[in-house]
Amino acid sequence: MVIAIGFEGSANKLGIGIVKDGEVLSNCRRTYITPPGEGFLPKETAIHHRQNVLQVLREAIDKSGVKVSDIDVVCYTKGPGMGAPLATVAIVARTVAQIWNKPLLGVNHCIGHIEMGRLITGAKNPIVLYVSGGNTQVIAYSKKRYRIFGETIDIAVGNCLDRFARIIKLSNDPSPGYNIEQLAKKGEKYALLPYCVKGMDVSFSGILTYMEERIESLLKDGYTEADLCYSLQETVFAMLVETTERALAHCEATEVLIVGGVGCNERLQAMMHQMCVERDAKLFATDERFCIDNGVMIAHAGAEMFNSGTRMKWEDCFITQRYRTDEVETTWRED
């Protein structure tokens, strides 16, 4: 039996969660929300995490009902992500690991998402579409690694959506992506946007620039903001479904799992579901509690690592802004 606590703070979400053998005991989170038209920057995000981390930690421990002496391993996000927020949260993880005399494990953020998705949905060996504000990857498992089949060659899909929300001054509360999704439901008229699939890779920065440059004229031409949200979603999600479908066909897989913050978008899930039905595959997705960055995913992935014998040297418990999914050997997977 393993009880693990996980600390996550690689972007604007601060999350701490506790799991016991895959059972979620607590999952506490605070989000740093910026005013409409503004994104979150590393320094201010780190200050937000510093101001909230101890309160969230107290909450996570109290809600879980476990005694700290029963915790087996302290896990934190080692990367990838923004340096200052990552470092802030890692400081607290290193401090409490020593106070409680518990082993410390640095977890790859992407691996956290994948393992959390597999745990919650029960997907066995899915093609993973990992879509968030910082990452866009199509992933398949093979021989002890999560291999990246395709990815964005510039900005992440969530970054494209977030920045479009800033252009039209949508609220960042609860998240820009959620507000785009709601507004898109009222959209009817499709505006033709660039469609940028390059083999297995995708590109979003050109679509964003296209929007930035033409927003005034598109609005004058009779497109509403809702129409543009709708058009943007349809275009970028179609690109993601296309690349995921190709990976699915190539690997002859039967499961698709969507993880990451953009993964709770129901329109993306619906489009992916349609593709899965046509290919006799099964779609797995989760809701915002586990899709959006959280501490539990770090705790769970860390517990899997710990269980399979992974230990980390103290010298290695730093943070790193760049940390690719395929750098991690998945010691816990036997297939």
Binding site: V53, L54, I99, N101
Partner: protein, 94 residues
């Protein structure tokens, strides 16, 4: 760059106990300075945490010192909130 042009800042922070100073040392020693032009050396002696900074740019030095102070404050707040009984040794360095 000649040795003369290097600026040095030494700080000594007293902690409530030798153990907490040692704990803070282990927390801080693993993070490398983001700027390669700044050298940071962390040590501890009895109840003192000692940090030595070296670099040629005073602006970069100030940023590095501020960042260490911020981190020490966070460590202290964590100790205040969760350090009722601090393990006397840490047995998982491997």
């Amino acid at each position: 760059m000649t040795e003369e042009s290097l600026l040095t800042i030494n700080i000594e922070i007293p902690f409530p106990s030798n153990r907490t100073a040692e704990l803070a040392y282990h927390v801080l020693r693993v993070d490398a300075e983001p700027k390669k032009t700044i050298q940071k050396e962390v040590t501890h002696k009895e109840h003192l945490l000692i940090v030595k900074f070296q670099g040629s740019s005073s602006k970069q030095l100030r940023v590095a010192v501020n960042s260490v102070f911020e981190n020490i404050i966070l460590i202290n707040e964590t100790l205040d909130a969760f350090g009722d009984s601090i393990s006397e040794t840490y047995t998982h360095f491997t």
